[in-house]
């Protein structure tokens, strides 16, 4: 039997297919003056007041301005839409607004807009994600005169400027009642939102009427596009093919490999994020846990080789940290005990605590498995029987919040805030699910620091708290993180000191 096959048809179809698909694709580049950045996670909204994501913070620095901002050079909180400010008392802050700030719809910023924004966030029914941040310290906001507002605080709160800078972008009065507004966002930042497709992309255009007196004035790039690409491998392919100009949060090993390829450049910078191991000193997880013994906690501190982990696994500009905060944060200047890597001393301390043959426990972790494994190896080397419980973040959070962990390796980014209140304060406050110390006096010190306006006094209180944490070895402070960026060689991008990119500073290389 002989059968004929349609081989000519196959060739014709192949030719037709290739002819259809050969046209090339528009790329991110200098010619179109469009910076394309990949986001790994989808952004659910372009309104920072309703976003909790880091991507939302990055975008908000382009589309929004607050009364204050984080100075990229000093990481201090400086006036932005505010022209000046004055603490009248510890609980009264008067702010004079700039008179040249314009919303993207062309209207001018007024004191009524500022009052509206803060009252909206304070209103529990508005359900903003920022509400819980300011509701605990802000009582009310009132207009004093055109262009002047007064903030009445419930209690002295030195981080008020931080919250205004990081959490509260200004909105035009009536924004959330106006259902006819067609723009995705009416902000006052140097870029306006042209289009927003949730889960896909956000397109921005430079706002030409942005106030010239702003420290963020005069951004060089006209268009920006943020594309959501969850897979790191796909992001690399997009970078190599010219589909994107910049990758954020690149793991060091990926950065090592990809940066050797042509047309890819690598940048490395700091991050306010720190890694640490928490030990259950309060015996929350088990009343008989060995971690309630100071000598056991000190032994754990001596057993982990933080220097080598930092140098070989975290790499880049990462540094060993000795206290429960990032060295770049205000107030992070403890002078208490520092624990050097000393496995012999660790064994001796374990023996003195009554555990000459070690004991068994689980170390929980949800990120950087290789580092968690290195910690486990160091602990095993001093005779401890450690099992790594590596889980997803949502599982980790549940067990940690239920206070069911004997020890866990975690990290904290402090929301990019260069102040110890954002790290020490968060982890050792009385009601914090992260607080495994059970130390009431320490919680009082942290609370006092959070409510003290005078910088010198605050610093002294944080030093007292940090020294107490170190003396009691509640934590094993591990290291600060390093950020890696992969980018097109055409792009000039100043590396942020706090790990939060400010794309209004980006430009094309000539």
């Amino acid at each position: 039997m002989k059968t004929r096959y349609p081989d000519r048809l196959g060739r014709r179809l192949t030719g037709l297919f290739l002819a259809c698909v050969l046209p090339l694709y528009a790329c991110a580049d200098q010619e179109t003056d469009t910076l394309v950045v990949a986001f790994s996670k989808p952004l659910t909204t372009v309104d920072r007041l309703y976003s909790i994501q880091r991507e939302g913070l990055i975008l908000s620095r382009l589309t929004d301005d607050g009364l204050f901002f984080v100075d990229p050079k000093t990481l201090e909180f400086e006036p932005l839409a505010a022209a000046s400010y004055e603490w009248v008392t510890d609980t009264q802050l008067d702010i004079t607004l700039r008179d040249d700030v314009i919303f993207h719809d062309g209207s001018r910023l007024t004191a009524e807009d500022v009052v509206y924004t803060f009252e909206w966030v304070l209103d529990e029914d508005s359900d903003t994600s920022r509400g819980p941040v300011i509701q605990r310290w802000l009582d009310s906001v009132e207009t004093l005169a055109p262009g002047r507002v007064r903030f009445n605080l419930k209690l002295p709160y030195p981080m008020a400027l931080r919250d205004m800078a990081v959490s509260i972008p200004l909105r035009k009065k009536g924004t959330y009642e106006d259902e006819t507004a067609d723009a995705p966002l009416n902000g006052i930042g140097p870029y306006k939102v042209v289009s927003f497709s949730a889960g896909r992309e956000i397109v921005l255009q430079r706002f030409e009427d942005y106030y010239e007196g702003s420290p963020k004035a005069g951004p060089a790039i006209e268009h920006m596009k943020f594309r959501v690409i969850p897979d790191q491998g796909t992001q690399q392919a997009e970078l190599l093919s010219g589909g994107i100009d910049l990758m954020l949060d690149v793991p060091p090993d990926v950065a090592d490999n990809v940066s050797h390829l042509p047309n890819v450049e690598r940048l490395e910078g700091n991050d306010i994020r720190i890694g640490y191991v928490t030990l259950d000193a309060a015996a929350n997880s088990d009343p008989d846990t060995p971690f309630k013994h100071l000598k056991v906690r000190q032994a754990i501190n001596h057993a982990i080789n933080r220097e080598e982990i930092t140098r070989y696994l975290v790499r880049g500009s990462a540094e060993v940290v000795d206290f429960a905060c990032h060295p770049r944060q205000f107030g992070c200047d403890g002078n208490g005990p520092r624990y050097r890597f000393d496995p012999v001393k660790a064994k001796q301390l374990l023996a003195e605590a009554g555990y000459p043959n070690g004991f068994s426990f689980d170390l929980w972790a949800y990120r950087e498995k290789i580092i968690a494994e290195a910690i486990v190896n160091d602990l095993k080397a001093v005779g401890l029987d450690v099992q790594l419980r590596y889980v997803k973040l949502n599982v980790f959070s549940k067990v940690r919040n239920d206070k069911d962990m004997e020890a866990f390796f975690a990290s904290y980014g402090s929301g990019g805030t260069a102040d110890a209140s954002a790290s020490t304060g968060v982890h050792f406050a009385r009601n914090s699910a992260r607080n495994y110390s059970g130390d009431e006096a320490l919680a009082d010190t942290v609370l006092a620091a959070e409510r003290t306006i005078d910088p010198g006094e605050r610093q002294a209180l944080y030093r007292q708290a940090l020294n107490r944490i170190a003396e009691q070895a509640y934590w094993v402070p591990m290291f600060s993180y390093s950020q890696n960026y992969l980018l097109s060689p055409e792009l000039e991008f100043p590396v942020p000191k706090d790990g939060v990119p400010r794309f209004w500073q980006a430009s094309w290389r000539q």
Partner: protein
């Protein structure tokens, strides 16, 4: 036949409800949705506020039956993460997944049928071995790896197709190839076996005696009968593709239901995950049911018991 349909439909509903309750309970016992929604670095006040706002402090059974009651009334709830009705969210993402599933099914048919027919027509020759090797390779290669390889070759080295996205039909070519390839082995083998059986049957010998040869014999006489079981397999494969394109959608950054499911799981977006699981289970069960009914219709022995 009606009894058979009702029996299978009831079983399908039980499967859907069991999976749905299991998922709901797992989310609540294994994770802290409030902390996940608030974010890794959220202050405690924000976490507590979310726990109260979303009712996570109520008993799990109460939360589940509230959700189920809503579903029965046609209200799938609002997404915790996206802050929009789940129905709208699913409608927005379904188009990409359906298009990808149909495109990949076309790829499967275009590759598997010719390969299967060729292998059956020349059994135990190099053509047969080539077809079988292709099938085995397609089965062995993981989707994410094949996806990245296709991207490197056809989007980076030779920029014929875009790397990622879903805005034009060109964006669907590479993902359809990846997803389609995974179904090739099953369909190809079934085509080969079915056609070999049919070609050795008496009526084909009779047809040959009547002068049917070449294309006419294969297409009009043999393939028509051999394809009947393949149709039911394709229905099941379509179910897999509608619910199982998670990896492909992530690699190619396509905004379909698979990626929505992954993001919802990572963000403890319980209403969305629950609704998606219900949809995936029902789709799969209905397609399996359709395949069973086709078989039952073809073969009276099945429907009789």
């Amino acid at each position: 036949m009606l009894n058979y349909v009702l029996r299978r439909g009831f079983m399908a509903l039980l499967v859907a409800l069991t999976v749905s309750f299991g998922t709901f309970a797992l989310f609540h016992f294994a994770t802290d949705p409030a902390q996940t929604i608030a974010g890794e670095d959220a202050p405690q006040e924000m976490v507590d506020d979310i726990r109260e706002q979303y009712g996570f402090d109520r008993p799990v059974s109460t939360q589940y039956f509230n959700w189920l009651g809503g579903v029965l009334r046609g209200d799938f709830g609002e997404s915790f993460f996206w802050k929009q009705p789940v129905v709208e969210l699913i409608q927005e993402h379904a188009g990409v997944t359906v298009m990808l599933a149909l495109a990949s099914l076309s790829v499967t048919i275009l590759i598997a049928l010719p390969l299967g027919i060729s292998a059956a027509l020349r059994p135990n020759t190099w053509v047969d071995r080539f077809a079988l090797s292709t099938a085995v390779s397609a089965q062995a290669v993981p989707n994410f790896w094949l996806g990245l390889m296709l991207i490197i070759v056809f989007a980076v080295t030779f920029p014929i197709f875009p790397v990622s996205g879903d805005s034009t039909w060109r964006h669907f070519v590479l993902p359809a190839l990846v997803l389609g390839a995974s179904s090739v082995p099953a369909v190809m083998r079934l085509t080969r076996t079915g056609l070999l059986d049919v070609l050795s049957s008496d009526y084909i010998r009779t047809a040959r005696a009547k002068g049917f040869i070449g294309y006419r014999l294969i297409l009009q006489q043999a393939l028509r009968n051999a394809l009947l079981p393949i149709v039911s397999v394709l229905a099941v494969q379509l179910g897999y593709k509608l619910g199982g394109s998670v990896v492909t959608e992530s690699v190619f950054s396509m905004n379909g239901l698979g990626r929505l499911a992954v993001e919802s799981i990572f963000n403890s977006d319980i209403p969305t995950v629950q609704s998606l699981i219900l949809i995936f289970v029902l789709t799969f069960v209905l397609l399996t049911l359709a395949a069973d009914l086709i078989n039952a219709w073809l073969d009276p022995r099945i429907r009789m018991g």
